[in-house]
Subunit: 220 residues, 2 copies
Amino acid sequence: MSGLTLYTYWRSSAAYRVRIGLALKGLEYRSEPVHLVHDGGRQHAAGYAALNPQELVPVLRHGDQVLRQSMAILEYLEETWPQPAPLLPADAAGRARVRALAQAIGCDLHPLNNLRVLQYLERELGQDQDAREDWVRHWTGGGLDALERLLADDPGTGRFCHGDTPGLADCVLVPQLYNARRFGMDPARWPVLARIAQACQDLPAFAAAAPEAQPDAPRP
Amino acid sequence: MSGLTLYTYWRSSAAYRVRIGLALKGLEYRSEPVHLVHDGGRQHAAGYAALNPQELVPVLRHGDQVLRQSMAILEYLEETWPQPAPLLPADAAGRARVRALAQAIGCDLHPLNNLRVLQYLERELGQDQDAREDWVRHWTGGGLDALERLLADDPGTGRFCHGDTPGLADCVLVPQLYNARRFGMDPARWPVLARIAQACQDLPAFAAAAPEAQPDAPRP
């Protein structure tokens, strides 16, 4: 047992990223579900807020270490268990490219669309469901359009975002495309992204990390 | 000459982060200003959009390399020029902590408040200046409150965010506090952050990177 506990929510795309990384590296872990809606959001409960003052999932515990922020957690997994399945290439330029692709989603796209932002749009700005869905589609569409160009125009792109093995950028891309589909967007708009996501979905690690495969997912 | 060109805007806090990193490492670079407001925003001009399809600053050119995303660029600087001024500690847990602090701002706070989001709130959602400033203060306040708790409660915090030398998290913190001040927030609300930011401002590298010190800043 690796002594790993993941505080997760089945549909959180930030938690989904970390689940993919853990699965790619073949690391076993205990899931500790944090329901983001029940009881007004259990991420706001005192016990969890003490673990993560940002009141967001995921958190990964590794022994005494409390690790926060999904992309930082993935880097920690990489540094602590560099094999199998390196999440970053060996060269600095390649590593910079992979990190920039991941951050194009993790910084500039995903945070605009998460639950707390949609709640603010509804509760503080009185925006109805149509306006909130337009908001999500605006930032998701523009963000993924830019990512498509970054990938389509670069010889570094292979079967996956960088070369022919999955890495950090793929861990971030797949959950974001899952989200786009939830909001009614057709991934065919981004042929390179859709092709890479399909290559990912064909791998058992990505299947194991999928929202519907989680213990806290609603049973059909 | 290091062959470095930074596409920058004096008041962009993402560009400001990279300027701090370059200055800490003593790297000379050429500044290529991209005015984010003139001509409808020169980051949207075809030439710049080809360089960065996200149409955001900064971009760093290093010889033939085109580097995007401020935190990925800072990691690249660290990997390419590990000395002087290491931006990350040597241990994986410390590195994870510093990255998580940086990402708490770079992912969950800053992207909500940048120019394009405020423009969308105004143009698409008809939000007036008061509502837009409330928006900025809401996300900035909550985000920095959480960061204050993360820093105040952790023995890893020193004179700077992590220990007694400035690093990646400080490069991200100082521009965000600059932004908070612009929106009328008093940094005294966050005593630990304010103390760290003051320690940073006392260093020549931070002074050289400041918005008002840039060649494209308006002359008083």
